[in-house]
Every structure is written in structure tokens, then in C-alpha cells.
């Protein structure tokens, strides 16, 4: 080190300072140019707002842009929020996945060379090193199972996907990023091939027969998932967010996908997971024969059936 400068009690060279400034530019420049609002919220300490604004940016990056073009800053800052539980429920798995996404983006998007190429190369390497340390800091402490979940999260970036256990009938369903699976079977997790970006509701639902049901008709048990999914329609600018509803039915020792439907659509990232009147607009009921009818008072209204399987409950 040729010269020294005071920085948090340590001394760094002028060249290293230049590296640090460049690294800051690499990380924060996109924030300043393309996401002023989340950066403002972040700087102001309004982490909840910052997270709300960062989530769709990261989703848009992951969904619609290839990794070389991805902006590393939003994913990095969102990782910090999920790691610390600032403004969001802490989620170390998601923090690690976001850190990795940010690191990937940085690694595949070298800065433009301006001025001294050697200095810029050094700065870029320093930024990469720093990003790697950041990623390790978020990922190294995870358990093996959590690391596996990070892989699922990288494959399907879903916010609000908490690991949980649901009880339906006398069965326990394990819910995590890989999907649903019964605790007592070795059935592969069921997820319906669906990748929601914002989980609105995960729960069990038991639908009882009506009072006048035919003899032998019994209650039917389901696992239900509601989540917003980012989509891009061909020929339409921007991303649309659709509220997808998926039902898996407990049939014997298996969970089977029985319904999937888009119930709502939004042009902006949904500020609340479900509209306040959602449950009043959504009706699921069993008829006498054991078939289950669902109706959603949307515009237009949608409806459908979850038929009783042949020789099922009857």
C-alpha cells in the first residue's frame, strides 16, 4: 500500500478508494438511475416500502431479462432486507438466493471500461470479490436442507413462501419451496408446475357434503395455494400479474392436482396479497353428488368443477 486514507479506523490506498467508489457505482448506479424510489425508501429506512418496490424489479429481472442484463443492485438490497428481516419476514433461504442472483448478475455484467483499463479491471475484481463475500455471508451458514431450498428458490423466486405443515384429515402435508408432499409418503412434491412470485395464501381446505348429500358422500380434503404470478403476454408491453389458484386433493396417499385457475389480473405489483373482499367473492361448495363447484365473482365471473373421482368418496 502506497498511501493511506482514514476509513472506519483503517487506512486504504487511493487506488483502493477508487476501487471502492467504482464498486459503489456498480452496485448503486442502477438504483439511482432506474429505481430512485426504492433507493429513497431504502435510504430513508422505510424497508417495508423498499421491499415492496424491490420485489417486482427483481421478479421482472428474473422473469423477463436474461442474467447478463440483470441489475445486481435490487437483488442485493432485497437480500439484505430478507437476511435482516427488515421490512419483511426474515428468510435466510431467500436472502441467499437473492445474493446469488445479484452475484450472478454482477459476474456476467462487467462495467464499461472508462479511463485506466487496469484500474477498472481491479475495481471490477474487487467488486466481484466483495459480492462473493456478501453471498458467502448469506449462504455459508445455511443447513443442507436450506441450501437445497435455495436451489428451488433460484428456480422459482417466490416471496412469502414460508415452510409450513398443514393438517388435512389425519395427514400432515409439508409445504416448502419445492411444493407439497405428504409427510408419510415418498411421493415427489406436487407443485402443479406453477411458479408464483408472491404467495398470497397457503392452507388446507376441507369441504363438507351438503345436508342432502347422497348416501356415502363424505368430506373432501384439499391443499390450496393462491399466489401472484408475473407474466408477459406476447404483443403486450409490460408485465401482468395474475392471481393463480391451485388445488391439490388428498386422494388416498397422494396429493393430486385437481384445479388451477387465474382469478384476478393486475398491471402493477399487488400491494396486498389478496383483495379484502376476495373471500366474499370466492365460493367453493359441494353438491349432493359429491362434486365440488367453485365460483369467483370476477369480471367476467369464472366458475368450474372439481369432479368426484370415479369410485371416490361414494
Amino acid at each position: 500500500m502506497r498511501s493511506i486514507h482514514r476509513w472506519h479506523g483503517s487506512r486504504i490506498t487511493r487506488g483502493v478508494l477508487r476501487v471502492w467508489r467504482l464498486a459503489s457505482v456498480i452496485v448503486l448506479l442502477p438504483a439511482v438511475t432506474s429505481a430512485q424510489t426504492w433507493a429513497d425508501a431504502y435510504k430513508a429506512g422505510d424497508y417495508r416500502k423498499a421491499a415492496e418496490l424491490l420485489q417486482p424489479i427483481v421478479v421482472a429481472d428474473v422473469q423477463s431479462l436474461s442474467p447478463p442484463e440483470m441489475d445486481p443492485a435490487p437483488a442485493r438490497h432485497l437480500a439484505i432486507l430478507y437476511a435482516s428481516g427488515s421490512g419483511v419476514d426474515g428468510d435466510p433461504v431467500l436472502a441467499c438466493a437473492l445474493a446469488q442472483l445479484s452475484h450472478q448478475a454482477l459476474g456476467t455484467r462487467p462495467p464499461r471500461v472508462e479511463g485506466d483499463p487496469l484500474a477498472w479491471a481491479a475495481a471490477y475484481k474487487a467488486a466481484i470479490d466483495e459480492s462473493e463475500r456478501f453471498t458467502r455471508g448469506n449462504c455459508d451458514g445455511l443447513t443442507k436442507r436450506q441450501q437445497q431450498a435455495v436451489g428451488d428458490a433460484m428456480g422459482c423466486l417466490a416471496f412469502g413462501m414460508a415452510e409450513t405443515r398443514l393438517t388435512i384429515g389425519n395427514q400432515t402435508v409439508l409445504v416448502d419451496r419445492s411444493g407439497f408432499r405428504l409427510s408419510e409418503t415418498d411421493q415427489s412434491p406436487a407443485n402443479g408446475g406453477w411458479c408464483p412470485q408472491l404467495i398470497a395464501r397457503v392452507g388446507s381446505r376441507t369441504i363438507d357434503p351438503p345436508a342432502d348429500a347422497a348416501p356415502g358422500i363424505v368430506a373432501r380434503s384439499f391443499v390450496e395455494l393462491l399466489g401472484w404470478q408475473a407474466m408477459r403476454k406476447a404483443g403486450e408491453p409490460g408485465i401482468r400479474y395474475v392471481l393463480s389458484w391451485t388445488m391439490f386433493e388428498l386422494r388416498g396417499k397422494k396429493l393430486e392436482l385437481v384445479a388451477t385457475e387465474h382469478l384476478l389480473s393486475a398491471s402493477i405489483w399487488p400491494s396486498t396479497a389478496l383483495p379484502p373482499d376476495f373471500d366474499a367473492r370466492f365460493n367453493v361448495e359441494m353438491i349432493r353428488s359429491g362434486h365440488v363447484r367453485w365460483r369467483f365473482a370476477g369480471a367476467p365471473p369464472t366458475r368450474g368443477w372439481i369432479m368426484l373421482q370415479e369410485g371416490g368418496s361414494r
Binding site: 353428488s289 365471473p301 366458475r303
Partner: protein, 354 residues
Amino acid sequence: MTFRWPRALAVAAGLLLAPFVDQLFACSCMASGPPCQAAWTADVVFAGKVRSIEPIDGMPGEPARLYSLRVTFDVERGFINPPSAVVEVATGAGGGDCGYRFVAGRRYLVYAWRPPSGGLSTGICSRTRPIEEAREDVAYLSAITDKSSGGRVYGRVNEWRRDPAEERGVDYGPLAGITVSVQGPAMVKDVVTDANGRFEVANLPVGKAKVTAQAPFGFDARYLTQEIEIRDLRACSVHDFTLTQRATASGTVVDASGRPLAGVQVDAVAAELAGYDPPPYQRPATTDERGAFEFDNLPPGTYAFGVNLTIRVGVRRSGASVFLPGVPAARDAKVVELKAGDDASVGMVRLSAR
């Protein structure tokens, strides 16, 4: 055992009457019913092992045969009109000709008919099946005795219901307490369906009869009579009925000055879909010279009536939507709730300019 000639299933008979294979496009079967029904509609029933399968060669210039394969069986057990130890049965090669795909060396329970042209034939419209899948059949056939107090008719009555906003009906389950009558030349028997919608009428004489489900108020009473034939005192006949609820609605269409308009197609759409261009789940009604229209078979529900309310398949919309009583917006439309059995007059649709 009496010899019955010729007694093929209705569809099979239709197939046998068809002179050329190329006139057939697909095989469509009526249900052959349970063993107690199938055994008495076939001419020969036996268990046997396929010895060989050979094509049936026609003479030059002869039209193609309906059944193109000759299957030779070593008969192991005869049940109905037992054939000789070795028997040939004609069948098709599959692919829409209703032929049964036998495999040489395998054992089958064969339900065969005697076509007018002679010999025996069978196909997928019969209960013919591999012997290992014919336990129920063999059990019944083995238990047949010479004595019986009479034939049986049994079945189930279910309700199908369709919501106005849906294209298809759904099984709503069994209907209990429905009267089912069996009427023959010299007898009438009534039974009532149980909680599972099931009915059974026993001790029926040999001969033709009519089975009728009595529709309660609000249900469509059409198409609820089926003709049956008890061919043997040991035979059964299975018939299921589907009842649907029904309502009717009528009204008129007039122009701005109140004159009736004839030839106008009127739509009835589920009120919840009004304004969203639903498909035509209900067949449109056309006004007569008095401007009157009538829907005589609507499923109960809440409706909006009017003109140009639906997207008709293959037809471009010819004008703007007008809802009862003559308004352009669905939110202003008069909606009508129809209950089962209702015969409602919905009023007048006034078209301002056409």
C-alpha cells in the same frame, strides 16, 4: 335352453346390415349391460382358447366384408347354446369396425351372435373379454338354473343439473322417491327409488314392456320412457334415467313504436355473464309474427334476456346488445329468476332502431 334367432344387439344389428366396410366411420356401442342382460342378448356364450386368427378372403369383385378376421376357438366350456368343440367366430380387425382384437393362445369368454349370413360373430360391443377379466360373468353364467320366477328390470335415477352460466350439466346425485313404472301388455308394476336412486322390478314375464320414470313437478317429463324386452325369465334389463329441472320463459319483441317484430333471435344468458359476450349456452328463441318468443327448456337460474347478447359461433354480431326491457347496458337490464317448473312471462323487449 331354447334357441333364439337372430338376437343381436341393436348396434351390432346395425353394423351387420351395413353392406360395406367403407360406409362405416367409427364404432359406437350401446352398453352391453351386466352379465344377466348380456347373456340373454347373445346367441352363444362360451369360454375358449384362440387356436388361430386368419383373414377372411373375399372373392374377386366382392364388396369388402364387415368382419375381416376368422378366429378359431377350442371351446372349453359352453354356457349359452354351447357350440361344438371347435368353433369359428368372425370379427373385425379393429380401427372403427367394432372388431375385437383377439390374441392367439389366450383364453376368452365370448359372447357371440348369429348374423343372418350364418356363422358366429362378435365384437367390442359385446361383453367378450379375456377369461381372467370375466369373473363376474362366469359366476353368473355358472349359476344359471332352469327355474326363475321372472325377469328383472333395475337401474338408477339421477338428477343432472345445468347452471345457466355453464355449457354442460353435472350429475347432482341420486333422486330418492321417484316412481318408476314397468308396463307390459298385461301388467303394470310401480316401484319407488331408494336413497341411492335405485329401483328394481322383479318377476316380470317374457315380452316387451315400457319402463317409465315419473318426473316430479319442475322436472322435464320428456324422454323418460324406454322400451325393453325381457327375453328370458332369467334375464335382466338395466335402465338408468336422468332427470333435469326445467323452466319456461316467454315474452315479446317490439320496435320503437310498439309494433311486434317477427324473426328476431332472442338470447337468454345467465345474468352474471350479461355484458361479457358469453357463448350461446341457451339456444336462441325466434319471435313469431306476433313478436312472441318462448324458451321452453331453460335450466333454473337467473337470466337476462335480450337481443345480440351472445357470441354466436361462426356468426358476426349483427348489432348492439339490447337487454330487456330495451336498454343497452347490462347493468340496467331486468333480470329474471326462474325456478324449476316456472312458466314465466318476462315482458317486452323494445328495440329502438333496427
